[in-house]
Symmetry: D2
Subunit: 141 residues, 4 copies
């Protein structure tokens, strides 16, 4: 794995500044790993994400997928906070457990204008995918 | 417009019971209209949805699209709270205003096992789309 | 409907030059209508598109959706043959008839770098959708 | 890799019977490998797939992605030729070479009613992805 432009520690610091409610400390997300071209982002379990039937909300997984690709892009090209999602597709594959969700991102395109990430989401400690997403970001000039 | 299986009022009541934090009262969502095959769902503006550059988070719009299709399905076939999203695709088209978002759903398939909704998201008072989504739900037997 | 940069006749001529096998004369496609921001493209029925169960191949509908968005973009901004698809999502909704397919495109974004089209595909003479697609094109500088 | 319900040879035979123009002999496609849960399908290069700028048509890659998931499903659950695509999303990532395309499928869900495949498409002899797709099939009862 090539080394990233921003380390896990640097990114955590910068994202905590930008998204104080969401990230670090009491926040919903943590970065577990970053490398050039990918990352693992953790979504801590919260009871507020529960839905009828004891599943976690699709919204929780979509937000995680979107955010994890953002982290992978920042890690790989440096701090461009105004990168914006243009497209996201998600397939929900099985009912997630009432545990942390882990999103593993692999950037499958890293161009000057567009980056595309593929995301595998799992319940912590389980091998099978609970969801799979792809997301495209537009990178400002 | 054909009449729905559940009216706006009945649905609001039932959803408030199921999702007390999200819906009705102080909640983030309201149903503006329902008919057989579609609905308009409102996402009230909240400062917590703001992102760098003054935009609203993609997560806010994805959650709205997903939820609005759920509402359209329940309105059209009756109360099946365990219907689950299998697939969602969203295109983000322009920066939303710092106002309510309105999601207008049209069900383009309403089968026994699968329903597909198309969603147009606009900032209140603006004609142009800020996002467009399609979502598929699996309907329990 | 605003008037397009290229008329139906001009586009048909130019596309016939670029795609002699596919378009005009004995070809698979014809343009029925164009306007600024959209078009209707016809895919003539061919027995080679049939699949087990008497349906038309998904490939036929995907190719039609992709091509129809291309036509709508060229009609709206002029001749940029090197515009390329970056993303396409299609939902197959019901079994198409053994007749021509009509794809109606509405451009929901027409930016400098990206254009997004929404496509409704119907069997000729039928109101219900057989497929629905969205496609994003990258427009060369 | 678990062993498939149908071997490469059995599948090639059956598909040649169902799609005599597309498959085997002079046809466009060949199966390179199958296993339980996936496969590699080859699309031979044909000049008819060329597009302006020397690229291969998006339609060629979409048809390949769709077909390759079909092959992976048949290999994994046996001969269900009436399985139909309900949804396909593709991201085009870089210009393919004027060579064979290889589609590698991994089934990320294999349920009773729905199966979802993830597809990586490469130009033969190149590591980088030219396209990435996900497709959902509905499996008849």
């Amino acid at each position: 794995m090539a080394s990233p432009k921003l380390t896990r520690k640097e990114l955590t610091e910068l994202l905590r500044g930008e998204f104080p409610d969401l990230f670090g400390g009491e926040g919903a997300y943590d970065i577990d790993k970053v490398w050039h071209g990918g990352c693992v982002v953790r979504r801590h379990f919260e009871r507020g994400s529960l839905r009828p039937g004891g599943t976690l909300s699709g919204a929780t997984m979509m937000a995680l997928a979107d955010f994890a690709v953002y982290v992978a892009i920042l890690a790989s090209i440096g701090w461009v906070p105004l990168a914006v999602t243009t497209n996201l597709t998600i397939n929900f594959l099985k009912k997630p457990a009432q545990r942390s969700l882990l999103a593993e991102v692999r950037l499958i395109k890293l161009g000057k204008r567009l980056a595309v990430g593929e995301v595998e989401i799992r319940s912590e400690g389980d091998e099978e995918l609970v969801a799979h997403a792809t997301a495209t970001y537009s990178i400002p000039a």
